[in-house]
């Protein structure tokens, strides 16, 4: 178990190093950086001063190592577009907004999606099942920002029930959460249904019935337990994925979140900020995958034993 954990961990570490190196080099070596003549016109001397200040005149590798040294201490420098704050500070300031919306949307997607998926699986091949499968395909095809538009049009412009954007109380959260979470219910429902059907049609469920167990017992002790394994491993990564902020939702609804900031930063070629957010995201997501892997190792005895014996 320990072996397994360590191996996974080192893999992620290597991955992060690789990613940071590649993105770092990319941002430094490509022509037309933040000091390109179009974006920020400045004289030769000013340019040289700026470059010295940000250490841009040193060789790449040295820059990277310096950056790495700082990064490990979670110091990503200061953003070009907001020099009054640090990158880390800015990220931490914006994160709660994205996290809140993302978390609520994810919960919504999971609760609704799992219920629908289970209903669908329980009535396999009936009209209800077919309707739900169709629903999954259709709803899954609606991009979240399009849905956002529709919701704002109907509930904000026409009905005036909810504000069209901005941040305030819970009222400001309803439309974004729904726009973000609703299309996600489709994928959740589909996967839930798939996992349930796979298990329900398996031979060992037939054995459970053959042993004399009743339907409720089979469902709770065999079906759910086994179906939860693939479900949990797929659904857990949804949280960090959604809590880091959707660029689209935050732009449509004008939410002060990380996603919107990222798009702004990249259009403004604010390298420290972009790099910082990238690494942050990568870190968060790899940690989640890592935790999910561990969790998988804990719940599924096959993995546990394999690792023990290897």
């Amino acid at each position: 178990m320990l072996n397994y954990t360590l191996r996974r961990f080192s893999g992620i570490l290597i991955m992060l190093l690789l990613l940071s190196f590649v993105t770092f080099v990319l941002s430094r070596t490509v022509p037309g950086g933040p000091f390109g003549k179009v974006e920020v016109p400045m004289g030769e001397k000013q340019l040289a001063q700026f470059k010295a200040k940000y250490g841009l005149d040193k060789p790449i590798l040295e820059q990277y190592v310096t950056w790495l040294g700082q990064a490990v201490r979670l110091d990503f420098g200061t953003p070009f577009t907001a020099p009054e704050m640090t990158v880390t500070g800015l990220i931490l300031k914006l994160l709660p907004y994205s996290a809140l919306v993302g978390f609520l949307a994810c919960m919504f997607a999971l609760v609704v999606g799992i219920i629908i998926g289970m209903v669908s699986a329980a009535h396999q091949n009936s009209w209800l099942d077919n309707a739900i499968v169709t629903y999954s395909i259709v709803v899954g095809s609606i991009p979240s920002f399009v849905l956002g538009f529709i919701l704002v049009y109907v509930f904000s412009a026409k009905l005036g029930w909810f504000p069209a954007g901005g941040w305030g109380g819970p009222k400001y959260l309803v439309l974004p959460v729904f726009a973000y979470g609703f299309p996600a219910t489709a994928g959740v429902a589909r996967w839930t249904r798939q996992c349930m059907v796979d298990v329900v049609s398996s031979d060992y469920v037939r054995t459970a019935y053959a042993k004399g167990l009743q339907r409720s017992q089979v469902m709770s002790k065999h079906v759910l337990r086994n179906a939860l394994i693939p479900m949990v491993t797929s659904f857990l990564p949804m949280f960090p994925g959604m809590m880091t902020g959707s660029m689209f939702i935050e732009t449509v609804f004008g939410l002060p979140g990380l996603g919107k900031q990222f798009t702004l930063a990249s259009t403004n070629r604010d390298y420290p900020l972009v790099l910082g957010i990238t690494i942050f995201w990568a870190l968060l997501i790899s940690m989640t995958y890592f935790l999910t892997d561990i969790l998988y190792g804990v719940i599924d005895p096959r993995v546990r034993i394999m690792e023990k014996s290897s």
Binding site: L19, S141, W281
Partner: protein, 299 residues
Amino acid sequence: MSKAKSQRNAQPNNTSEVHVASNWVAAWRRFRRNSLAMFGLVYFVFIVFVAVMAPVIAPYAYDAVDYAVTYQEPTWQHVLGTDYLGRDILSRLMWGARPMLLVGILTGLVGMVIGVPLGILAGYLGGAFDWFIQRLVDLFSALPWYLLVLYLVMVLSPSVMNLVLALSISSWVGSCRLVRGLTLSAREYDFVEAARALGIPTRQILFRHVLPQAAPLLLWGFASGIPGSVFAEAGLSYLGIGIRPPMPSWGQMLGQAGNYWMYYWHIFLFPSLCIVISVLAFQGLADGLRQAIDVNVNV
């Protein structure tokens, strides 16, 4: 019931030709049964036609500005209305099919061009190379697609090809995994050992046996990547970092609508419908392909 199925498909034991032909026919029959998949196919043909013929069939030029008729709701003159610059929405939608298709299809193709060779090499060579490729796959699949795309778009100049390149950076993973899995399992097969004992180079084995097996699966993988690419292009263009003017794109039309779209339903409804229907159609197409070829692979 599988037993009944095997009875039904019981063939006279003459040639294997019969089996191959019947496989494609059977696949087509399965595909045809899925109405959403058929819709997807029809729509695909239709939209390709529209995209190709846009210069001919569009009533107006996509950049024909007419300040006299800005924000007009649908009329006989402008069947779908006009936008904030008086440009005809229908024409712009027709032209907008081009970047959508280009990005959607090219992304999948480029993704395969990158992913398939890497996958074969990884499976064939094994060892450190394989380990490295696998780490790359882990890396690229762990990151959200827009991260990489935004980075590349930021670093490179905005153009359709660069957008395609950026999007395929995250999509190559699927085909790579698939092909690697197939190559690995092909190496295990006894017939590969037998062939090698006969002196047939492994290269030939891979081409003769692995790739044909992979073909339908790759087709399906390609098709299932299209909805995502369409969605990505629409989203990015909406944010202003995808397809830039003057070439119209449906997402871009949504983004350009500004703050007034709330009062002009036609400006956002029609591009939205186009996006949704396209994603839906390609989704259905991919799903139909999956059913048709009975995807049952453990990568």
